[in-house]
């Protein structure tokens, strides 16, 4: 019996943050119906890499990473009859999810206040970039921008250069850590009390919890942290050191005197390590530039993996700086089964990243790959909405419902 068996989600989530959140639910047994329109396919369907290197709405492995185990329902939201179809789902839905700009669901007449009469204990989760209300509520956004509004970008980078954004739409992968517990807590509250509610997330307000100490420092001490590349405020050596080959690195972080002594042992106690300057943590921190040069001169002769294994075996915290290739090939991630390889006719064989936790009594399941646009429209109409075939056909001909686009050459 899966943990979320019987949980019904009507899912308007798009891009990464939303679909990633519902992907956890799908792995553990929830039934998720994604509403998508051919007229405005969601951004990730246009994002590489594509199966066979050919772009197409059903060919994105980026999209496929977040949308396995979900049903694809094609609905032309621009059609006047579309909203009625959505409302027919509501009595079935435990949860309705959306992360459109605030005002979008309201414009369609699908706000929480509109849906609640159809299902009084409905839970709705909205996850806009900046939340409802406020002067910038309707500002369109995208992932990397929230890294900057939340202060993550400002603190990342070299002190003598402009700041650099953490890779990608980074906060898209931070916010689900808050959205998921909130949604499941609301479901539990409803189970106990019969009361649903609207969960309204501002992605910025959630992401800021990953930056709480520096923000509290500014708010309470009127002091702003500065970017420091890879340095630690109190500890040295603490850096990414160059290894053999091009652009090969190994991090070393001697968090204690013991770690430092173990590093010296592995290095064979070269005379420079006896220098008074490096005898204490404070000394190593004070003379960090020289220390980094000396350690880096030593690591440069090492293969990054051998260095990591040798140092870790001696109790020194160290690790290869993995490329994306090395992530795919990593033996620890393979041991965890992190990448679940799935087959899709247009994406081809592709890795889906599973949930990062293992439940001892409830395995995650990957039952089918990400749906094509409109792949399950007819099936969902029959099985969930209880529509007869002639009604379904009429709605397809009327271009309200949309069915699988694969027949059109995978475009």
């Amino acid at each position: 019996m899966q943990p979320l068996q019987g949980l019904h989600i009507l899912d308007f989530f798009w891009v990464a943050i939303g679909p990633m959140s519902t992907s956890y639910l799908a792995e553990y047994g929830a039934t998720i119906v994604r509403i998508e329109s051919q007229g405005r396919p969601e951004v990730l369907r246009h994002a590489p890499p594509f199966g066979g290197g050919v772009s197409g709405l059903n060919r994105s492995a980026y999209y496929a990473n977040y949308n396995a185990n979900k049903y694809g329902f094609g609905l032309n939201m621009a059609h006047p009859k579309a909203v009625d179809i959505v409302k027919r789902f509501v009595p079935w839905a435990d949860v309705v999810t959306e992360n459109f700009t605030p005002g979008t669901m309201e414009k369609w007449g699908l706000a929480y206040e509109d849906l609640r009469p159809l299902k009084p204990d409905l839970i709705m989760m909205s996850a806009s970039m900046l939340g409802r209300g406020g002067p910038y509520s309707r500002q369109p956004g995208f992932g990397p921008v929230l890294s900057s509004l939340s202060g993550m970008t400002g603190l990342t980078g070299w002190p003598d250069r402009p700041p650099t954004n953490p890779y990608g739409a980074y906060t898209d992968f931070v916010v689900p850590k808050f959205a998921l517990p909130a949604l499941l807590a609301a479901l539990d509250y409803r189970r106990r009390t019969g009361t649903g509610q609207h969960l309204d997330i501002s992605q910025l307000e959630a992401a800021l919890h990953f930056m709480a100490p520096p923000i509290l420092e500014c708010a309470n001490n009127d002091r702003e942290s500065q970017r420091a590349a890879n340095r630690h405020p109190a500890v040295a050596p603490h850096a990414a050191y160059p290894c053999q080959g091009e652009d090969r690195w190994c991090t070393i972080a001697c968090m204690t005197d013991t770690d430092w002594q173990a590093l010296c042992q592995v290095m064979g106690h070269p005379s420079w390590t006896q220098d008074d300057r490096f005898a204490t943590m404070h000394g190593r921190k004070t003379h960090e530039p020289v220390l980094d040069e000396l350690v880096g001169a030593w690591t440069a002769d090492w293969d990054a993996y051998e260095l990591m294994h040798t140092l870790q075996d001696a109790g020194v915290p160290a690790g290869v700086v993995y490329t994306n290739k090395e992530i795919i090939e990593d033996t620890q991630l393979a041991h965890r089964g992190h990448f679940v390889y799935m087959e899709h006719p247009d994406v081809g064989r592709h890795p889906v990243q599973r949930s990062e936790f293992r439940l001892s009594q409830a395995p995650a399941e990957h039952r089918w790959p990400a749906p094509n646009l409109g792949q399950h429209t007819v099936q969902v109409c029959q099985e969930i909405l209880g529509m007869h075939d002639d009604e379904i056909q009429a709605l397809i001909e009327d271009e309200v419902l949309e069915v699988d686009t694969r027949a059109a050459g995978g475009k």
């Binding site: 909130a182 997330i201 923000i215 509290l216 992530i327 990062e356």
Partner: protein, 418 residues
Amino acid sequence: MEPSQDASMLSPYRVLDMTHEWCLMSSKILADLGADVLQIEPPGGHPARRLGPFYHDEVHPERSLFWWSYTVNKRSISLDITTSDGQHLLKRLVSSAHFLIESGAPGELAALGLGYADLAAVNPELIVVSITPFGQDGPYAHYKAPDLVGMGLSGFMYVTGDADRAPLRVGFPHFYLHGAGAGAAGAMIAHMHRTLTGTGQHVDVSCQEAVARALANAPQSYALEASIIKRQGAYRQTGGGTFMRITWPCKDGYVNFQFSGGAGAGRSVNAFVRWMAEDGMGDGYLESLDFATLGYGAITQDMLERVVPPIERFIASKTKAELFEGATSRRILLFPVSSPQDILENPQLQARQYYQDLTHPELDTPVTFLGPFVQASATPLRMRRFPPKLGEHNLDIYRDELGLAVEEIARLRQTGVI
């Protein structure tokens, strides 16, 4: 049924938190959702209390802003679980707890007779969440991973930073925060299972996996195209040979402006190009392109070299505030690279009354905290308690709940158990 003023989503549930400093956020999420979280501290105080910054620079275990960031809404008891008395007390607490969250090295708790099997024997309904760098087993399970090491082994560093220098970590340590958040999520999925089965289970969280899930499409780019994604500084690779630019210097700092194709970003770039023209800094080539129909990953290195200079000149001529104001009225995807002060003053956060001030009898001024991570219409998240003092709730728990006599509590105190 209308909930009372004090209704909260997780109020019936007790959480025992034994995590280290970087995983405190896991139970904080549950505490904010209403759970009764007991932070179990060594009798000398949780190591997090030694981490700065400190309130008004008072370097003191009851003034750590780091501790305060992640322990609002929690209670504190002191307990030395390395002692047999301590283990006995923990098991008594376990018998009435719903969740236990820990972040010891694999096998560390089992060596104390407090592994999952030991605790499940006491309370089969207990959910134990274990958060480790790599998981409970596997070739790296015993590796030490401070944040820098973990972020490197998660693939995140290689793709962050400038091309001509070393790879960079995110400037505030996030490796364990990702695992902590995942721990809260995994705990709640296990809880949903418990409502069906009546039993608990072990939730084994890997921080490396959590951060590997923050790599966007980089793993897939290798798997499908054998592309190695490289760090680009102000740019970002969107596929094997295509790029977008994100960071731009302006008059008084930096802004992010997503310069790429794709539906949303493309319309924004078109609007930006029109703004340049209105301001007399237009560029013919830019105006000839329709970025909305160019795909998300369609801009090549050559195109970038041609179009970046005129955009750079325009942005450099304006301040963060001017650029943001112009962007909001034109629906352009442009935002300032905020400093902590910018974040405090952010008009959107101010309008939503995000920041929360809590007063404390011993402090001269209220302390400013972050606000709720979700607005819940029926059960609003509230700040119910100031972060706890060390062992603040020892009597509430040991005397009033477990029924220990005062003499027993004194003995435990004397022998360093609590």
